[in-house]
């Protein structure tokens, strides 16, 4: 496998609330390698978005990282001062959100965004040349060059999301964190966007963390998949092994409850119960109250991530 870009070690994130402390991410360790798409899946509240924001150190207060380290290209991000971190965010890590309007300045033209980004990265480049590069880039994204001087609100949702990818490319970012990038898009636009993202990923060997609840999107794009449940990482595997042979009972339940368009099977399997309250999570394995295979041990001791094959980890007492 290629070199690691990002190593998360024993990361925990807390949100103090009036009712108690919510541990949104609990002791998560994860490595992202150069040129891979790592899918991070789970249901709402499982901590996947919090993990994404923690990597950028953009947690909304009062949320804060209480333990662990995040090593990006050999540097522990948690030790950097704010100024260095800000520069790093601008130049090496890019983020794509569900709603691109939140990231684009409504008062700036698309060209301003792209040119500014290009010139931040290469200050020696003249305006003319930067504009030429911006035009090429926009064209590469399948947006007509004459839209370059439009304002964000004049573009469709799909085009805005393409612009966000374009900005990540202009930065030549080492890592792109995409949090639900297609959730607000219609299905054909979503498919177009996924095609584009896959092409660009291969062409530029991009490293992407794809955070989503959409299992179909993960299956389309990911090389490896990490599954989170109630703040914990429960399974990590390459995409084919995970879908062919999910090990953790939660992963199995999750995959079985995904609606599938093919007409071969007719029933969605149902997972009983709902995710626990993170202020007082159940003891032992957090999934045990919903788990059909739960043993006595499961409610007593917490399972750690265990190696069960080539680059395959699972946190479950069954293995």
């Amino acid at each position: 496998m290629s070199e690691p870009v990002l190593q998360i070690r024993n990361l925990s994130v807390d949100y103090p609330t009036r009712a108690g402390v919510v541990r949104a991410v609990d002791d998560v360790s994860l490595t992202v390698y150069r040129g891979e798409v790592l899918g991070l899946v789970g249901e709402s509240g499982c901590g996947k978005s919090t993990l994404g924001m923690a990597i950028l150190r953009l947690l909304r207060p009062p949320g804060k990282i209480v333990a662990g380290e995040i090593v990006f290209n050999g540097r522990n991000l948690l030790e950097l001062d704010d100024e260095t971190m800000r520069h790093l965010r601008g130049a090496h890590i890019s983020m794509i959100f569900q709603d691109p309007m939140t990231c684009l300045n409504p008062l700036q033209r698309i060209s301003d965004h792209v040119i500014e980004t290009i010139r931040t990265h290469r200050p020696e480049m003249g305006k003319q040349e930067a504009r030429k590069r911006a035009t090429e880039l926009i064209d590469r994204l399948g947006i007509m060059a004459e839209r370059l001087d439009d304002y964000p609100h004049q573009l469709s949702g799909g085009m805005r999301q393409r612009v966000m990818i374009g900005l990540a490319l202009a930065l030549n970012a080492d890592l792109i964190i995409a949090d639900e990038p297609t959730t607000s898009l219609d299905v054909i636009v979503e498919a177009q966007f996924l095609d584009l993202l896959r092409d660009l990923q291969r062409q530029f060997n991009l490293t992407i963390i794809l955070i989503t609840h959409n299992i179909g999107v993960v299956a389309e794009l990911s090389d490896r998949v990490a599954v989170m449940y109630a703040g914990k990482l429960v399974e990590l595997a390459d995409v084919h092994s995970l879908f062919d042979d999910p090990l953790h009972p939660y992963t199995r339940g999750l995959l079985n409850s995904v609606p599938n368009i093919s007409l071969t099977e007719d029933h969605l399997q149902i997972m009983d119960g709902s995710p626990p309250d993170l202020i007082s999570p159940p003891p032992g394995c957090r999934f045990h109250p919903r788990c059909p295979y739960a043993k006595q041990e499961c409610s007593r001791r917490e399972p750690a991530m265990k190696n069960v094959g080539k680059d395959r980890l699972v946190a479950c007492w069954l293995y």
Partner: protein
Amino acid sequence: MTDNLIEVRGLKKWFPVQKSFVERLVTRRQQFVHAVDGVDFEIRRGEVFGLAGESGSGKTTTGRLILRLVEPTEGSILFEGVDLAALSDEEMRRMRQRMQAIFQDPFASMNPRMKCGDAIGHSLEIFGVARGEEKRRRVLEMMERVGLTPASILYDKYPHQLSGGQRQRAIIARALMLHPDLVVADEPIANVDVSVRALLLQLMLQLKQDFNLTYLFITHDLATAKYICDRIAIMYLGLICEMGTLEQVYRNPQHPYTQALLAAVPVPDPHARRTAPLPKGEIPSPINPPPGCRFHPRCPFAEEVCSQELPHLRPVPGDEGHLVACHRMVWLKSVGRPASAGNPR
């Protein structure tokens, strides 16, 4: 004999486009958003009829028209043969007991200051069916039916104290309190997590049996529609482009748009990554919809006639009940070639 609960005939809804003062001085021409531009379909008693399409296809407006939450520009809606447009306000108010709605965002459709149980039973008071203890008893019973348990505790909770799945169950319970005939469900499960989705779908099917319901199920998600719909209509820019049983439309899609839509759904199987090409571009503005077939600018098979003549829904030969609005199908059939470009999967 078919027993139609709802018949929709030539239904249109055009919304006027708001113009600024200056624009109004410069031009007199009033523009319209052609949200729904002439649709015909019927919903049979006891079935789940799906309306599917992308945003801007007019599916939600169609649902609102049937509930008469917006007035149609043209066309009629018959409820058991009675034209809803001809009813007086009082008659319509009584008719509303028989048709209820479930919307996507349960937060937006619940009064944040009303206790869950009171909200569910509100309609009983409005229509003078029951109040006081009797109302509470009926509400608790309904809460049990939809799985809002323990009912006596949840009765006194406010909406923000419930989970997303519980709120959606409360909305379903509220819709069923008056034992309606028709439930218009507009993206009822789009906002909940996958594992809860399956539960809610199963619940909706169970309740349909228990209460003899008919559903109009509006969704953008063809994968979800598969688990609940008996028949389905695919909408594009205010028009129905294909309609039939779920089996007909999914197994043998005839319209190039339906084919693209089905092919674009991401499949939860990394071995089946999509390879089929997609239509170019995005759904155009419904203010000036393209002439002829609405889909022709994006259609890979478009010919000259497609940009000139609007294709009407026609039966697919040899496939009873399957309708499609595409010029191409007619030509292909006439020269005896198979109409399908092959199932995208």
